[in-house]
Symmetry: C2
């Protein structure tokens, strides 16, 4: 429903009729609309997480290449499921309060990224320092790009593939180990 008509089209009543039940039925499964949306958002994070992890198969290839591919998959996920992605990050649609489940799901994503970065640090491919901080930097870049693309802030004439590649490459170049200078 999100992808069909945007988040605004997701109403408790519409969900009910979509499932052939009454408007009150969803309240037997979720305390309120926010909880339902949080559940959907959490599912999105798990989906994204699985997708990023699946790239592990090609871990044998050039190592930094794997990080690059993760970034690429990240942005591609957002482009394929824009409304879902927006929901995952848009606190606005959800409650003002922190949603522990959401935080946990997003946290899992971050931890995976940190692990990968740590591996590459140990191989000396990217500079040392707090892997968490580096994960945030990389995450910021791909999330920002995904967000700008989704919100149509980027000139549609630009080649998206090139832009994704250039973004991930720039980040990796910036993180490349320069200590042996």
């Amino acid at each position: 429903m999100i992808s069909e008509g945007g988040a605004a089209s997701v109403t408790m009543r519409a969900i009910g009729s979509r499932l052939g039940v009454s408007r009150g039925a969803p309240y037997r499964h979720f305390p309120d609309k926010t909880a339902l949306l949080v559940a959907v958002a959490v599912a999105g994070f798990k989906r994204l997480n699985r997708r990023l992890g699946s790239g592990d198969a090609g871990a044998s290839s050039s190592s930094v290449e794997r990080l690059r591919r993760m970034g690429e998959q990240y942005v591609r996920f957002a482009l394929e499921h824009p409304a879902h992605y927006r929901l995952m990050y848009g606190k606005e649609a959800l409650a003002r309060q922190d949603q522990p489940e959401l935080r946990k799901a997003a946290g899992a994503l971050l931890e995976n990224l940190i692990d990968v970065i740590r591996v590459h640090q140990q191989r000396g491919e990217i500079e040392g320092g707090d892997p968490r901080a580096q994960a945030y930097v990389a995450w910021s870049a791909v999330h920002g790009l995904a967000s700008l693309l989704i919100e149509k802030q980027i000139d549609p004439n630009v080649d998206v593939d090139d832009l994704i590649r250039q973004t991930t490459q720039t980040i990796l170049d910036g993180m490349r180990d320069r200590s042996p200078d």
Copy 2:
């Protein structure tokens, strides 16, 4: 009102009473709620643009430093006005339709960034290539960082200043001209 109670607290009726008028009064000035929010968002872009431009004064200092400061100011703006910033980018809260005024305001920001990047390219401080693409990369990084910080996706124990510095520095390192290698 946005910063006080979140975007959800902004209702036409509340705006009216806040101004001491009736609920219908705002409709004499804006065709609908979306138009009003777009106007607020546009004002936000102008404000942000002005802030980024004001750094020009220190253009005499280390040149790349100016780009770094722009990024820093960008993120800082978002942190100071989180709800406003969210509104500026959150298409969700606004209409599904493209808002030409909003696009123009965001476009002006981009053009300024492109100009600055072009200058630094000419000085040979960052690598050549399409300045627009590089602007997008830089924009993605700061926007992503701002977004993650605002949405509280980043561990509050992390030193925000350090993270901002590291992000901008990584991007600049990644864009640094390596052609004379």
